[in-house]
């Protein structure tokens, strides 16, 4: 047992920290810290800064233009980015599609798509969920029928995050309606400019436009946009989901969130004293911090095992559940800390805008964030599904 980072790892952390100090624009970190949206331009700008540095794709192998970092380095990078309030890297192309193309895509697909993910020419979104296929993803109904050199796609996807900015979408489609559920699914890459595609906004309960419905009506997709083999899409989809679940613990987000709570609680007054001195509130913060300290070590244990080549099993499901519970608890603490100033609806604060937010610094977005982050335990395989996975492995009929 040794809980400390190696000298190389510490040097790496310092390198990342210096880079962020130098290259992360202040207005961007301010926006992230204050819970304001960045818009497409903001995301594109940060994407370009990271690409310039060669640090855009921490999880890609070097031969594809990635950093070739190990799991510990990726963790350090993630932690430092959260600490510096760097924008989240939009994961759909970089962390979800790219690993699938690298493992299952053709050479032509790799050569064509991967550089365009890095240079920002392609903004990808994810066409997985459907109105009738949420936790039961394999029941999806969007169908693709082969006609000559094309597939004709009809159906509807939903919860498509940032689909309003995307110009490409990777989709799970049903290509064999007669096969058993998981066996008739294919993985298709679709240009969003193709006629017959319509993106409709879904406004979330905090007033933000973050997700969309994507409708397909007789959309013609060239057959070369099929990834891997027809009807083998479920295998690729599952592979992608294991990548979606890396960094699922969100340790960095929780650490940054806890700092925000403490900062708020130091400035908010309760009966003439800073709220942080109130034992009831302080106890809640301490409990969240205690949980986070342990979860952070669980996360490192799994990362460390992965770095030495062990594939994570149910641990990633455990991290998803505990990690999202802690993040949501921290959101709840921030809401509490804001007191009456949690009440104003801060659409300006959330979506970005010029109007100064209502209330003391930092209070404006917290209630909206509390509601928005209820999604954490719903998406990426709901926490109930994660518990099913844990139970199936650990309680699956074997003594």
């Amino acid at each position: 047992m040794d809980l400390s980072y190696t000298a190389e790892e510490q040097a790496f952390r310092q390198e990342v920290r210096s880079f962020l100090e130098e290259k992360l624009p202040k207005e961007m970190s301010d926006a992230v810290r204050e819970g304001r949206g960045l818009g497409k331009e903001g995301h594109d700008r940060w994407h370009a800064i990271l690409n310039e540095q060669g640090w855009l794709a921490p999880n890609w192998p070097k031969e594809f233009g990635g950093c070739g970092w190990n799991a510990v380095q990726r963790h350090i990078f993630e932690e430092e980015c959260c600490r510096a309030h760097a924008p989240r890297i939009v994961p759909f192309g970089l962390s979800m599609l790219a690993p699938v193309l690298q493992k299952f895509g053709s050479k032509e697909q790799q050569d064509y798509y991967l550089p365009k993910i890095l240079n920002g020419e392609h903004w990808w979104c994810q066409g997985y969920s459907e109105p009738g296929a949420g936790s039961d993803l394999a029941s999806l109904k969007t169908k693709a029928v082969r006609e000559g050199d094309h597939y004709i796609v009809n159906g509807q996807k939903t919860w498509t995050t940032l689909g309003q900015y995307a110009n490409w979408i990777f989709c799970l489609v049903r290509t064999d309606p007669d096969a058993k559920q998981q066996e008739g699914i294919s993985f298709l890459l679709i240009d969003m400019d193709t006629p017959g595609i319509e993106v409709r906004p879904i406004i979330l309960l905090d007033g933000t436009h973050e997700v969309n419905e994507v409708w397909f009506t007789d959309v013609k997709v060239p057959v070369e946009n099929l990834v891997g083999e027809e009807n083998k899409g479920w295998t690729y989809a599952k592979y992608l989901l294991t990548h979606e679940r890396t960094n699922i613990a969100g340790v960095g987000f929780s650490q940054a969130g806890l700092e925000t709570v403490k900062r708020l609680a130091r400035s908010q007054m309760h009966k003439g004293r800073p709220l942080i001195d109130n034992p009831y509130f302080a106890a809640r913060v301490a409990q969240a911090e205690i949980d986070l300290m342990a979860m952070s070590t669980t996360n490192l244990r799994i990362i460390s095992a992965a770095a030495s080549g062990q594939a994570p099993g149910v641990e990633s499901s455990m991290l998803k559940v505990k990690g999202t519970e802690i993040r949501q608890e921290i959101n709840d603490l921030a809401r509490r800390a804001a007191g009456v100033y949690a009440m104003p609806f801060a659409s300006e604060a959330v979506e970005g805008g010029n109007e100064p937010p209502i209330g003391p610094e930092g209070t404006a977005p917290v209630a909206a964030q509390y509601f928005n982050n209820r999604k954490l335990s719903i998406f990426g395989g709901s926490n109930e599904i994660q518990k099913n996975i844990i139970a199936k492995v650990k309680m699956g009929g074997r003594a």
Binding site: I203, K271, R284, R335, P344, G359, F371, S377
Partner: protein, 377 residues
């Protein structure tokens, strides 16, 4: 022991529930939420006509109710339907303060409130007072025949719609002393009073109010100089019973929406309500709901009695509902999944009402602290 509503209250509950389920549909409410005013004058008028406002005042004050169980009956229904119209602000707080402290001429406003003609707001909380009801830094200074108000008021709900604001200000005593606080009836268009309005996350509107040397005649004062705190405490007690009952109503709706959704939403080839893991969670919500119902009964039933016992039961109800409400709101969203995250689905608004209620008059922790203080007293 008898836990049945009186015949009058039963009728009130029935007619209000019928009116709201006919007229206050999700689409109507979503339109109101999007509107500039943040509430519907039309619905307000109809609620007044139905006697809902009158039910919140005693006969002595021109109403036909006003007791704890009248308040809880009305607000539970408002909560069930997610009503955002400012009954709490105009009737219970504003109307209640004028009824408690006003002279005959001031009290004419109460009659107008009951008739639905007047809107009020209680401008009491300040940027640093949080949930402390006696912390008033706004000052009232007598200058000859005039009184001058200076200070800032925070998150004044219904301020923009209000014809009059009831403003608390200190005439003497330390910033957190219960002695020395006065109330003033201030027409919204009075010179020196300005406001910056905004929408609230859970519906309705509020404003930051600036009092920059507002000059009032002595007749604007409600009751005796420096002696308003007892009435403020009484009226806040009524408002807290109302808020607890409203949250209970919203919790009922959230739980029922969830129960119904689980019976119809199919995944893995069966309604998800057939999974025992989810059945148990609904059972837990139903258990908490009955706890919340009893807590509201305790609070409403003690509203007219001894003040310490009243406040103890209110703190208990608000703490319990703060905890249970969070569970109901969060679990209802979770069991629904993505659909409950959308603005237009009914549960989104209901869940926001439940959670954001904690931010008026003190969250679960503040109520726990208050309960312990009162227990030790």
């Amino acid at each position: 022991m008898n836990f049945d509503l009186t015949e009058e209250r039963q009728m009130l509950q029935d007619s209000l529930r019928r009116f709201l389920s006919d007229r206050y549909t999700t689409s109507v409410r979503n339109e109101i939420l999007e509107s500039e005013a943040g509430y519907s004058a039309d619905i307000w008028g109809q609620l007044a006509e139905l006697g809902v406002v009158g039910a919140l005042f005693s006969e002595e004050d021109g109403g036909f109710g006003g007791a704890g169980f009248d308040i809880s009956t009305v607000f539970e229904e408002l909560g069930r339907a997610g009503v955002v119209e400012p009954l709490l602000d105009t009737a219970l707080l504003g109307g209640g303060l004028i009824a408690a402290l006003g002279d005959d001429s001031q009290k004419e406003l109460v009659e107008e409130v009951i008739g639905g003609a007047v809107q009020l707001a209680f401008a009491h909380g300040e940027p640093t007072s949080r949930y402390e009801t006696s912390r008033v830094e706004t000052t009232a200074t007598v200058e000859g025949a005039e009184i001058i108000l200076k200070g800032q008021k925070a998150v004044v709900v219904n301020a923009e719609a209000a014809d009059h604001l009831i403003v608390s200000a200190r005439e003497s005593g330390d910033v957190d002393s219960t002695d020395g606080i006065s109330l003033f009836l201030v027409p919204r268009d009075t010179a020196g009073l300005s406001m910056h309005g905004y929408a609230l996350l859970a519906g309705g509107r509020a404003a930051e109010v600036d009092l920059d040397g507002v000059r009032l005649p002595e007749t604007a004062r409600l009751g005796a100089a420096g002696g308003a705190y007892a009435a403020i405490a009484d009226v806040l007690a009524r408002a807290e019973v109302a808020l607890a009952a409203e949250t209970l109503g919203a919790m009922e709706t959230a739980t029922e929406l969830t129960r119904q959704y689980l019976l119809t939403r199919t995944q893995f080839g069966r309604p998800i309500g057939t999974f025992q893991a989810l059945q148990h969670r609904v059972a837990e919500l139903l258990i908490e709901l009955e706890q919340a119902r009893s807590a509201v009964i305790n609070a409403a039933g003690h509203l007219e009695g001894d003040a310490r016992l009243r406040d103890l039961n209110i703190a208990a109800a608000r703490n319990l509902i703060g905890r249970a409400g969070r569970l109901v709101a969060e679990d209802s969203i979770q069991m629904h999944g993505g659909i409950a995250m959308t603005q237009e689905y009914e549960l989104a608004h209901i869940a926001k009402r439940i959670v954001m209620a904690e931010h008026r008059f003190g969250d679960a922790d503040t109520q726990l602290e208050r309960f312990l203080d009162l227990s030790a007293a």
